[in-house]
Symmetry: C2
DNA sequence: GTCTATAAAAAGATAGAC
DNA sequence: GTCTATCTTTTTATAGAC
C-alpha cells in the first residue's frame, strides 16, 4: 500500500485530462507538465518516458476497474441496471480513466488495448450470472460499449444520446431480457 | 460528377490506412506521402494542409454513408439484420472510413465528430420504421455502436467479440424486439 | 525532487525547379 | 502535377545545477 507522491498523481491527472479533451496528439509531455504545474524535468523524474507515463495511467485504470467490478456485483439496484447506468459518463475517476486509456488504444498502444479488453472480460464476468444466456449478455455488454462509444466521440452533438426517460426505458427493456 | 485524380485517392487511402493502424499521431503528412508513393510536395498539391487532408477523408465518409443508408432501407434480409451484421468490420471502404474518421474525432476534430453524429442520425432514420418504439430502436443503435467500439479498439484481443453463432443469436434477439 | 538549458529528431508548411 | 530543399516550431529526451 504505497501512497504515491502528490506530484505524481497531479501529472497523471493532467495527462488524463489532456487526453480526454484533445486526444493523444495534444497529450505531449510538455503540455502535461504545464497543466500539472511542474517543469518537464520534474515530470521526467516521476515518469522517465512517455511510455512510462502511459503505463502509469493504465495501472490507474486497472485499480479503478477492480473497485467497479466489485460494486456491480453488489449493486442494490441490480447488476444490469447499475452496469448500464454507469456506462454513461458521470465524470467520475473511472469514466475519465476509461476515456483516456481509450485514446491511447486508438493511438496504437497495445498495452492500452489489452487493458480495455481485460476490463470488458471482467465486466462480462460480473454481469453473466444475472443473464439467462450469452445472447442476452452480449446485448447488455454491447449496449454498454455503445454508450461508451458515444461518450467517446464527445459532446459535439446538439444533445446527449439518451434523455433520462430514454435511459429508463432502455434499462427496463434490458432487464426484461435478464428475466429470460 | 468529377472523377478525382488517381494520386489524390491514393493519398486518401494511405492516410486512412495509417490512421487505422497507428492512430492520429502516426498519420503525419510525411508518413502519408511515403505510403502513397508521392513526395511531401506532391501530397501538398492535392491537399494544401493537414486540415484539408482530414476534410477530404470526412467527405469520402459522407459519400459512403449515403450509399449505406440506401442499402439498409432496401436490404433483402431485413433492415435490422443488415444493419447489425454490417456493423462488424469486413474491411470494406465504409468500415475503413468510419474507423479512420473515428480516430480523427478522438483527436479533437470537430468536423469528424459532427460527421459521425450525422451518420448515426441517418442510420437511426433508416432503422426507425422497422422498430415498434424508441427504446427498441436505441438498443439496436447502441448494439451497433458497441460493435464499432470493439472493432475500433483493434484486434488486440485473442478472439473477436462475437463468434458467428453468437452473431446469429444476437440478430435473432434484436429482431424479436423489432416484432414488438 | 524539481529546476534550466540544450540537444536531436520530427512535425507542418513554403519556395521554387522541372 | 510532382519533385527537392529549406524554414520554423514542436517533441522527446539528456545533462547537470540547486
Amino acid at each position: 500500500m504505497s501512497r504515491p507522491p502528490r506530484a505524481r498523481e497531479s501529472v497523471l491527472d493532467a495527462f488524463e485530462e489532456i487526453l480526454i479533451a484533445g486526444g493523444e496528439r495534444a497529450a505531449t509531455m510538455d503540455a502535461t507538465a504545464r497543466a500539472a504545474g511542474v517543469s518537464k524535468g520534474g515530470l521526467l523524474y516521476h515518469f522517465a518516458s512517455k511510455e512510462a507515463l502511459e503505463a502509469g495511467l493504465i495501472d490507474r485504470l486497472g485499480r479503478l476497474i477492480d473497485a467497479d467490478v466489485h460494486e456491480i456485483s453488489n449493486a442494490a439496484d441490480g447488476a444490469v441496471a447499475h452496469y448500464i447506468r454507469t456506462s454513461v459518463m458521470a465524470g467520475d475517476p473511472l469514466d475519465r480513466a476509461m476515456l483516456a486509456v481509450s485514446r491511447l488504444a486508438q493511438g496504437g498502444s497495445a498495452a492500452a488495448s489489452a487493458a480495455l479488453h481485460d476490463a470488458r472480460e471482467r465486466w462480462a464476468g460480473a454481469v453473466r450470472p444475472h443473464m439467462p444466456d450469452e445472447a442476452s449478455l452480449n446485448v447488455v455488454l454491447l449496449v454498454s460499449d455503445g454508450l461508451y462509444f458515444n461518450n467517446m466521440l464527445g459532446g459535439a452533438g446538439p444533445h446527449p444520446v439518451l434523455q433520462d426517460a430514454d435511459m429508463d426505458a432502455l434499462v427496463a427493456l434490458l432487464e426484461g431480457l435478464g428475466r429470460g
